[in-house]
């Protein structure tokens, strides 16, 4: 029963979240004016995250009536191979290209080549720094990714809902110090919690994305604050470590993770982990495709009728 309630709550929150946060700006009303040929270059298809993104892209392609080919390298680390793939894609004269770079810089040379040929490019998932691009005389049309500040805020919303008006003490387990996505999640969570009366972040400590360190850190925090009510971990690996600490101590503390890795989702179904804030890779792919279609819809030339001036 408890499990069912939790699951329902998670689903309800996900629904709420998708209405709240994602309603604006996902370009759902995009229509393709022509059956464009588009290439989507992902990192690898050996990882469920990218498989989901591929499925999102293909589903949206069908809806829009455009032709999409998805490319990916065999191994996530092979930046060189991805560069070659991108070159082949350019040679095959696609109308537009969406790409998720393996490193922030590995594709810069070919992005500028696509620019020269007038092919619009959209950056997915990990950002190619715009400054670096500009220095190399290149640009991307747009950038689509998960907003990690919002991820943290959603986790905070969940905790606030779950604990109710009574509130209580909460703790954050951070990733590697200085990692932008981890810091954004922490800040999103902490700032949202601070706005809520009755809630207090009593500890915010790093565990370097490491499960064992998260177990140790969470144990220390829980021993220090036996009245702790919730722990938010900036990824699922650490959430599972923190969950272990809670279970070792037999305490009643809710643990919320981030990413939605399979083990965490299983733990949610078992009613052990309260929730995990999952990214939506399929939507990232869909929005990327919509952006490209919009870019291609912009006419190359618009003739303005001249006016006949006469008496």
């Amino acid at each position: 029963m408890k499990r069912l309630v939790t699951l329902t709550l998670v689903l309800a929150l996900m629904l709420m979240a998708s209405v709240n946060v994602f309603a604006q700006g996902l370009l759902e009303d995009t229509v393709a004016e022509k059956p464009y040929r588009i290439a989507v270059l992902l990192k690898t298809l050996a990882n469920p995250f990218w498989v989901d993104m591929q499925e999102g892209v293909l589903e949206e392609a069908e809806r829009l009536g455009v032709e999409v080919d998805v490319f990916a390298v065999a191994q996530e680390g092979d930046a060189e191979e991805q560069l070659r793939l991108f070159e082949n894609v350019i040679a095959r004269e696609y109308d537009g290209i969406a790409f998720a770079p393996i490193t922030p810089v590995n594709l810069i040379p070919v992005i500028s080549k696509a620019n020269d040929l007038g092919i619009p490019v959209v950056n997915l998932d990990e950002r190619v720094p715009f400054n670096t691009l500009r220095d190399r005389g290149a640009y991307v049309y747009s950038f689509v990714t998960t907003n990690n500040v919002l991820v943290g805020e959603q986790a905070a919303e969940f905790v606030i809902q779950k604990l109710g008006p009574a509130g209580g003490k909460v703790a954050v387990i951070e990733g590697m110090a200085g990692n932008v996505s981890g810091d954004d999640r922490r800040d999103g969570f902490t700032n949202r919690i601070k706005q809520e009366p009755g809630f207090e972040v009593v500890a915010s400590q790093p565990a370097n994305w490491d499960r064992t360190q998260a177990l140790n850190v969470a144990t220390n925090i829980l021993n220090r604050h036996p009245d702790l009510k919730a722990i938010y971990a900036c990824n699922d690996t650490m959430a599972l470590g923190a969950l272990r600490a809670v279970e070792n101590l037999g305490m009643d503390v809710i643990v919320v993770g981030t990413d939605g890795v399979p083990e965490a989702i299983e733990a949610v179904k078992e009613g052990r982990l309260a929730a995990t804030i999952a990214q939506d890779p399929a939507m990232i792919g869909k929005v990327g495709l919509r952006l490209l279609v919009r870019a291609l819809n912009i006419p190359q030339q618009v003739d303005v009728p001249s006016l006949v001036v006469a008496e």
Partner: protein, 317 residues
């Protein structure tokens, strides 16, 4: 007088630093810090680092290094988990996938060091990447979980109030302290670390000993891998990444000389406990994340400097 201080400092200096830190933290932290429960936690949370630090102590003792211990820990933890997940008997899986595999990886390191005559820094820098890559490959970069419950209950359980990982770490420390102090092998390693040529001239098989120190290192990291997997009830493909730096810091804080020939197991264990103590205190005091690295760095540099200053007094005599 000076000689007395040096004599005691060499044996008990690290312990003095540990007690000093304990007192300082005790003053600044809430009462909870010095409770029995928290002190047991510090020992438990240090157990993995104690194990790999004891291992890495040996290559450092011969003026070498082992940078691969974090990956050995990751690979042994993963292989033992995979063996158990595939229905192997728990003890057999731990023996083969943890202890023997760890020793074997150490053997590889040691053999390469002797065969290539390259500095262990280079060999283990490379093998560190190779072992991590192997871990990612065999696990498909996914964690292995749903391990037999008996495993965590046995290896990460308690005997009375004492956690099993602490018992394992202390036992390993006692065995290796005995090896270093009381056996010909131990004396040979010190001699090799002090002066390789003299050791060779006095009939010590220096090549064999060079391999042995890496086997010890791998063996300890393998046991640490078992303990880590048991504590988590799961093996993570990236587990142990960067742990070599804590292990090396523990050995150095514990008075082991980078130039070889000087150091002892007791000091290394206390060095690892100091790191565990600092981490625990940082959490309890909720020290801000970015500050933590500064504090940790200062404490490492500070304690080693203090150690050297006090020990140097009569070095020239």
């Amino acid at each position: 007088m000076k000689k007395d201080l040096r004599y005691y400092w060499q044996r008990l200096g690290t312990l003095a630093i540990f007690v000093l830190l304990m007192i300082i933290m005790g003053i600044f932290s809430p009462q909870y810090f010095l409770s029995r429960n928290n002190i047991i936690q510090i020992f438990l949370q240090s157990s993995i680092n104690v194990l790999i630090a004891i291992g890495v102590f040996f290559p450092i003792l011969i003026a070498g290094i082992d940078l691969s211990v974090g990956s050995v820990l990751g690979l042994t933890g993963m292989v033992s988990a995979l063996l158990m997940a595939n229905g192997w008997d728990m003890w057999l899986a731990l023996l083969v996938g943890g202890v023997l595999l760890g020793a074997f990886l150490g053997l590889l390191n040691g053999t390469l060091v002797v065969a290539t005559k390259l500095h262990p820094f280079i060999i283990t820098l490379g093998s560190n990447m190779i072992f991590r890559g192997l871990t990612l490959t065999i696990s498909d970069a996914r964690p292995v979980y749903n391990l037999p419950r008996q495993f965590s209950r046995t290896i990460a359980g308690y005997v009375g109030a004492i956690p099993v990982p602490v018992i394992i770490a202390i036992s390993v420390a006692i065995i290796f302290a005995f090896v270093t102090k009381k056996t010909k092998l131990g004396r040979g390693i010190y001699a090799l670390g002090g002066n390789e040529e003299a050791a060779w001239l006095s009939g010590i098989n220096t090549k064999l000993l060079k391999v042995v120190v890496f086997v010890f290192s791998g063996l300890c990291a393998g046991m640490a891998g078992i303990v880590m997997t048991a504590r988590m009830g799961a093996a993570e493909p990236l587990a142990g990444t960067g742990y070599e730096s804590y292990a090396i810091a523990s050995a150095i804080i514990g008075g082991t000389s980078f130039f070889g020939g000087i150091g002892n197991i007791f000091g290394v264990v206390v060095g690892a406990l100091i790191i565990g103590l600092i981490n625990n205190a940082l959490n309890i005091l909720n020290v801000q994340t970015y500050m933590q690295q500064i504090v940790m760095g200062l404490l490492i540099v500070g304690s080693v400097t203090l150690d050297r200053l006090l020990a140097r007094g009569s070095k020239g005599e």
